[in-house]
């Protein structure tokens, strides 16, 4: 199987602080991978770098054979693409914007996703609850026919019904060969749908393992495995 994403020796500094250092990550096609780590460990930054929202890094980020940042953006669907929407328009009108500027955006899929998730197309963006906001973010992200989806903390601070609906959408709408990288600091939400996990700690990825290997070889639950990294020493985040 050819590799979808290769991140090698990635280092990123900002405001005189090291945020990521010498980070390596490989993703295969057709996977759902959990990116686990405490708040502030660098999960969002890693996704921003892969998506091309942050640019001043050292190291290699290669996505298939896509070289330029613009080519990369064409096949990565990052949940943060909704960040910056700050008006009171209806959801369907905001989706129209994405339909216009992303050639791979599928409006029909968006309508189905919104219905599945229980979002009203006539709801106004500024009036969405936290749960519905997250649902909308996921709906926009999954409405694109991308090769790599980056979902940053889609379950953060939402109720369990919304969480279940989002998990179902991920299972149902992931295109056949696409890979989804989903970050979370509370792995139990998504343990059952993960093919593999990568743990972020101390500015880097400390381990990357297949979910079934963790269960089969270590006899551990994903949660125990994840927590074992943070139990060893003090957590380094701010």
């Amino acid at each position: 199987m050819t590799t979808l994403l290769t991140v090698a020796n990635l280092t990123y500094k900002r405001n005189l602080k090291t945020i990521l250092e010498d980070l390596n990550l490989t993703l295969e096609p057709n996977q759902i991978v959990g990116l686990l780590g405490a708040n502030g460990a660098g999960k969002t930054t890693l996704m921003r770098l892969i998506a091309g929202a942050a640019t001043s890094y050292h190291g290699t980020i290669r996505l298939g054979d896509q070289g330029t940042p613009a080519e990369r953006k064409a096949i990565v669907s990052f949940s943060e693409q909704v960040a910056g929407v700050n008006d009171n328009r209806r959801l369907v009108n905001i989706a129209d914007f994405y339909d216009h500027v992303y050639p791979d955006f599928d409006m029909a899929n968006f309508r189905k996703l919104a219905t599945d998730l229980g979002l009203g197309l006539d709801q106004r963006f500024n009036q969405l609850s936290r749960g519905n906001h997250q649902k909308f973010v996921v709906a926009i992200a999954l409405s694109r026919h991308a090769k790599l989806y980056l979902l940053d903390e889609p379950f953060n601070g939402i109720d369990s019904m919304s969480r279940k609906k989002i998990v179902s959408s991920i299972i149902e709408w992931k295109p056949e060969m696409a890979t989804i990288l989903v970050s979370d600091h509370h792995v139990t939400d998504i343990a059952n749908i993960l093919d593999a996990v990568a743990v972020v700690k101390d500015h880097t990825i400390v381990d990357q393992k297949k979910a079934d290997e963790i269960r089969e070889n270590n006899g551990q639950s994903i949660e125990d495995y994840y927590e074992s990294f943070y139990a060893e020493g003090e957590t380094d985040n701010d």
Partner: protein, 125 residues
Amino acid sequence: MEFDDKIPIYYQIKQYIYQEIIVNHLAPGDKLPAVRQLALTLTVNVNTIQRALSELINEGILESKRGRGNFVTTDVATLTDLKHRVVEEQLALMYDRLADLQIAPEDMVAYLTDYIAKRKEQAQA
């Protein structure tokens, strides 16, 4: 369905399908739901379902018909085998536990007979 997160999910799904076949929720020749549908029903990854199904196909429990889906085998011998195997696994588990308690095989039979009688009474009461 609730999964035990310490045991590989594909393995638990296999057990689940075994059970469905043994209790005849899935009869011989029945078509299984589509892979994605199963994934949604069980809230697991499509790849996990695929792994479970392909192992079941290798075991001969399921038959994959190209373009039409997966069907429970109609081969009676395989299904009888399966039932024996699953029952045996449970018995093996019990046997090992009791053996750990240093209970002799003859006593195990006695304990089991007593226990079954007790459960019957409880059920009637």
